[in-house]
Amino acid sequence: MESMSALAGGFSAAFGIYNLLFCLLGCLLGTLIGVLPGIGPLATIAMLLPITFAMDPLTSLIMLAGIYYGAQYGGSTTAILLNLPGETSSVVTCLDGYEMAKRGRAGAALAIAALSSFFAGCVATLFIALLAPSLAAFSMQVRSPEYVVLIALGLVASVVLSRGSPLKAVAMALLGLLLGTLGTDVTSGETRFVENILPLYDGLSFVALALGLFGLAELLSNLEHPEARGTLVGRITRLWPSLDDFRQAWKAVLRGTGLGSVMGLLPGSGAAVASFTSYVVEKRFAHDPSRFGYGAVEGVAGPEAANNAAAQTSFIPLLMLGIPGTATMALMMGALMMQGIAPGSAIVTTNPTLFWGLIASMWIGNLMLLVINLPMIGLWVKMLSVPYRILFPSILLFSCIGVYSLNSSSFDVWMLAVFAAAGYALRKLDCDAAPLLIAFILGPLLEEHLRRALVISRGSPMIFIERPIALGLIICVVALIGLIILPSFRAKREEAFHE
C-alpha cells in the first residue's frame, strides 16, 4: 500500500539523530509542563517558536508535537496524585485516578494511565497512517449542527458521571452553564454580566476555576482532615497494577482509543468531549457501576486512552485541512507557515517527508514518554510521602504561578482565591464540582454552535435532522440516554416491588 511505504519513509526520517534528540527534548519538556499545574503547552510552544525557525521544519514540528502530547501524560500525573487538573482532558482523570491514589493505589493508577495512553497513541498513529485522507474528509463534514448534538452528549455525560445526588449534579451543571455565559457573547458581540471589568471580557479563567474547585478545595480538605491523607501515604502497597486491573481495564482502553481517535478529528471540542464520553460509556458498561467515583481502574484507563488518541488525531485537521482546532494548534500552524509550509490536503503529496515523518515521530514520542514516565512513578509516589506541611505550600505556590503565567494576569490569581473559597463551600454542601467544570467548558460552545446553526439555517430547526451526521448523532445520544435511564427505572420499580 502506498501509505505504508510512505510511512516507512517517514520512520527513517524520524529516526534521524537530530529528530530523535529533539523528540526526546520535546517529550521531557512537555512532561514537565504537564506536571506543573496551570502551565500548559501553549505558552511554552510560543516561547520556543522563534528558535524553531532556525531548525529544519520536520525537526521543529517533532519537538513541538512532543511538547503537546507530552503535556497530556504529565497532566494525568498531577490529576491522579493531587486532584489537580491541568487541562480539560485531565478533569475526568481526577475523578477515579485521585480516588485510586487515596486508596494507596497511586502507582497502579499512574501506570495504567501511562500504558493506556501509550496503547491509544500507537493505535491512533496507525489509524492516521491508514486513513488520513478519509479522516480529513469526515472532519470537513462536521459543522455547527453536529457540534450541537455532540456537545449536548457531553453535557448529559457530565451529569451522569457525577457522584452523589443527581438533582444536585443537574444544578451544578446548570451553574456551570451560567458561569460560562460570563464574558463576551460571540454571536452578538455583547458582554454579559461583566460590566467594565476588562479581564473578564474573555470569560472566567478555566484554569483558575479548575485548580480552585478541584485542587485547592482538596488541599483545604486535607488540611482540615489530616487523618484522611494517611491512607494515601500509608497504604501504598505496590507500584504496579494487579492482574485484575489489567483484566478490567483492557476493554476500556480499546473503547477509549476508538472514541478518542474519532473525536480528536473534530477541531476544538472533540478532544474534551472524548474523555467525558469515555468515562460515561465505561460506567455504563461496567459490571459494577457503583465502583465509579471510588477508584475504578476503567475510569482512568478509558479516558486516558481517549484523550491521548484524540491528541494524536487532532493533528489531522491541522495538517490536512489547515484548520487549527485550538490555540496551541494555531501556534503550530503559525510555525509551519513561517517555515513556508502551507497545511492543506496537498501536504501529503508536496511534503510527504514532513507529514509521514511527523506521524512516525508521534509513535516514537509515545514510546519515549512511556519510558520516561514509568520509572518516574516510584519517584512521584515517594513525593506523596513528603510531610504535608511542606507539600501543600508548594502545591499552592505552583498553582498560583501557573494561573498567573497563563495570561500574565494577577486578576486571574484573585479569581483562584475566589474559586478556592467556592470549592471549599461546595464541598461543605456536598456538591460535586465535576459537572460544573464540564458544563462551564461546553456551555458556551453549545450556545455558540446552536445560535450559529440557526442563523445559517435562517431559523429552521430542521437542520439538525436534515444533515445525516447530525441525525446519526442524535440517535446515538437518545440511545445512550435510554441505556442509562432504563436500568435505573427498572431498579426503582424493583425497589418499589420489594416494598
Partner: protein, 147 residues
C-alpha cells in the same frame, strides 16, 4: 430546626439565589426568540431552570433528614486564601522571588504542624527552584524581583 443546618437546604438556597440573580441581571440583554436567540436567551432560561431545581432541592431537604453541614475549620481556609491574595498582590509589583517567599510564609501556618525553621527553608528553596524552572527554563513572562 435541623433542616436549617442541612447541606441540602443551603445548597438549594444557594442555587435559588444564584439563579435569581442571573435571572434579574439577564433582563438587561435582548431575549430574542427560539429561532433567533439573543444574548439574554440562554442565561435567562438556564437561570430559571436552576432556580426551580434549587427550589426542589430545598423542599426535599425540609422533608427528609439530610446531613448537617460540617463545621468549617477557619485556620486553613484563612491562611491559604491569604497566601493566594498575597501572591496576587506581589507578583507584578515585586516579582517572582518575593512573591514566592511571601506566599509560602503566609500559607504555612495553615497546617497545625507548622514550624518556622522549615517554612523559611522551604520559602527560600522554592523561590530558587521557581526562578530556575519558570524564568530560566520556561522563559515565562514574569519579573524576577524588583523593589
Amino acid at each position: 430546626m435541623g433542616a436549617l443546618r442541612s447541606r441540602d437546604f443551603w445548597s438549594g438556597a444557594a442555587f435559588v439565589a444564584i439563579g435569581a440573580w442571573f435571572l434579574w441581571r439577564g433582563q438587561d440583554y435582548r431575549f430574542g426568540s427560539a429561532a433567533a436567540m439573543g444574548p439574554g436567551y440562554f442565561p435567562v432560561l438556564i437561570a430559571l431552570v436552576l432556580a426551580m431545581v434549587g427550589l426542589i432541592i430545598l423542599f426535599k431537604s425540609l422533608r427528609s433528614h439530610a446531613a448537617a453541614i460540617e463545621r468549617p475549620v477557619l485556620r486553613p481556609l484563612v491562611f491559604v486564601l491569604a497566601a493566594i491574595v498575597v501572591f496576587a498582590l506581589s507578583i507584578e509589583r515585586f516579582g517572582l522571588v518575593p512573591a514566592t517567599i511571601a506566599a509560602i510564609v503566609v500559607a504555612s501556618p495553615a497546617s497545625r504542624e507548622f514550624r518556622w525553621s522549615e517554612t523559611i527553608a522551604l520559602a527560600v528553596g522554592m523561590a530558587a527552584f521557581a526562578a530556575l524552572v519558570f524564568i530560566y527554563a520556561l522563559s515565562q513572562n514574569m519579573p524576577l524581583a524588583r523593589f
